[in-house]
């Protein structure tokens, strides 16, 4: 539990301080999503669900009107990703990034669908464009984060 809270606090730190300063193509990367996918891929769906829920609630507190939705969607992504891992071999880095990309597309679209449905009716093409850009941004940041985590394990083994 402590790990989840610390991870979620790191996510909050990233979303408040780093993400606004590293926006790409007009979108900000979503560390909560990236780490939820990584947790689910590394430890399974249950870990993914709990991490997604914890991070989602903490991040949701920054946008109180949408409190609950982020946690719900992230835990859903953690659940799907964890189940996917049991059915497919997602060990190589490219497949993990592809999983993250797909998870980002689903998450971003569902997030807009549940919290800003009127945008889908008014301008679906723009919503899809933003969703795609955001997913690509998450994938790029995901590569860096996944590599850092992998090196962390290597360094720990070396020490």
């Amino acid at each position: 539990m402590i790990k989840y809270i610390l991870g979620a606090l790191f996510v909050a730190f990233y979303q408040i301080i780093i993400a606004p300063r590293t926006s790409l193509m007009g979108t900000q990367s979503d560390m909560a999503l990236i780490l939820t996918v990584w947790t689910a891929l590394a430890y399974g769906s249950t870990a993914g669900i709990y991490f997604g829920l914890t991070a989602g609630i903490l991040i949701g507190l920054l946008t109180p009107m949408e409190l609950g939705w982020v946690g719900l969607l992230l835990s859903f992504i953690g659940y799907i990703t964890g189940n996917l891992k049991t059915k497919l071999v997602i060990e190589p880095m490219p497949s993990k990034i592809l999983t993250l990309l797909a998870a980002s597309l689903v998450y971003n679209f569902l997030y807009i669908f549940f919290t800003r449905f009127e945008l889908i009716i008014l301008n679906l093409s723009n919503v899809l464009s933003v969703t795609l850009k955001s997913a690509l941004n998450n994938a790029l940041v995901g590569i860096v984060i996944f590599l850092i985590i992998r090196y962390r394990f290597i360094l720990r083994k070396l020490i």
Binding site: L53, L58, L62, L67, G68, S75, Y79
Partner: protein
């Protein structure tokens, strides 16, 4: 099972009243997220300060360049003022006078002004208005002088075309305009050129405006041009004039 737990917790949070959500959010932002928001504010301030610093440096350079330019302009201004004062002080001195008398006739060929020996006026001194030369003094008393106008056929002025630099002697020979004699046929004196005094006659200093060329054609069988000049001065409405005391005299 865990997904159901997550679902129920999330749904509970979603259906909470908005005021309650905002209250919880406020508590978290003021406690848990407080260090993060302070770091965010600090970094934002630093970024703004950096941008402002760059902008202020650019502005400083612009202002420095402007200041340097102003200094240059100031020194140029001082130099020009010195040159102007030098020109005014050394070759010329203007003595103001009023026209107090006209020679009777359809068009006065000479006028009387109220400046004489008492003001330093002497014979053969140029008389001008702001528009240009009007003539020269031909007789002087203690407090008055007679001015022979350019439209007197005895008044001659050595002139030069400001554009073509063609030189000649201007005088009135009857008609509406002054005539410039001895202008070589090769000269480029053209209609519209300004005629000024050349300073060669010894009476009129160089550079005083006489008039504008209104006619310029070669005289057949000669080596000279026929050049007519419209005087720049309206001789019919002379009231205030200046006697030029030209120190070279």
């Amino acid at each position: 099972m865990p997904i159901l737990v997550a679902f129920f917790i999330s749904v509970i949070l979603i259906v909470l009243p908005a005021s309650f959500k905002i209250a919880i959010s406020r508590v978290f932002i003021n406690t848990v997220y407080y260090p993060f928001t302070q770091i965010d504010i600090f970094l934002t301030d630093v970024a703004h300060a950096k941008k402002n610093n760059i902008r202020m440096n650019q502005r400083l350079i612009q202002v420095s360049m402007q200041a340097a330019q102003f200094t240059e302009d100031h020194y140029e201004n001082v130099r020009l003022r010195r040159m102007l004062n030098f020109d005014l002080q050394i070759p010329y001195r203007l003595v103001p006078a009023e026209v107090i008398g006209l020679k009777p006739g359809l068009m006065a060929k000479s006028i009387v002004i109220n400046a004489g020996i008492d003001k330093g006026v002497n014979v053969n001194m140029p008389v001008v208005t702001a528009d240009g030369i009007i003539g020269k003094t031909i007789a002087v008393t203690n407090n008055a002088a007679i001015v022979q106008l350019l439209i007197d056929h005895n008044c001659k002025v050595s002139v030069i075309d400001q554009n073509s630099r063609a030189m000649g002697i201007i005088r009135w020979q009857g008609g509406k305009f002054l005539k410039v004699g001895d202008v070589p046929i090769e000269s480029q004196a053209a209609i519209g050129d300004t005629i000024i005094s050349s300073g060669l006659g010894g009476i009129f200093p160089p550079g005083l405006i006489v008039g504008t060329i209104v006619f310029s054609e070669n005289i057949e069988g000669t080596m000279f041009k026929d050049v007519d000049v419209k005087p720049s001065v309206d001789f019919g409405s002379l009231e205030e004039v200046f006697v030029v005391i030209y120190d070279e005299q």
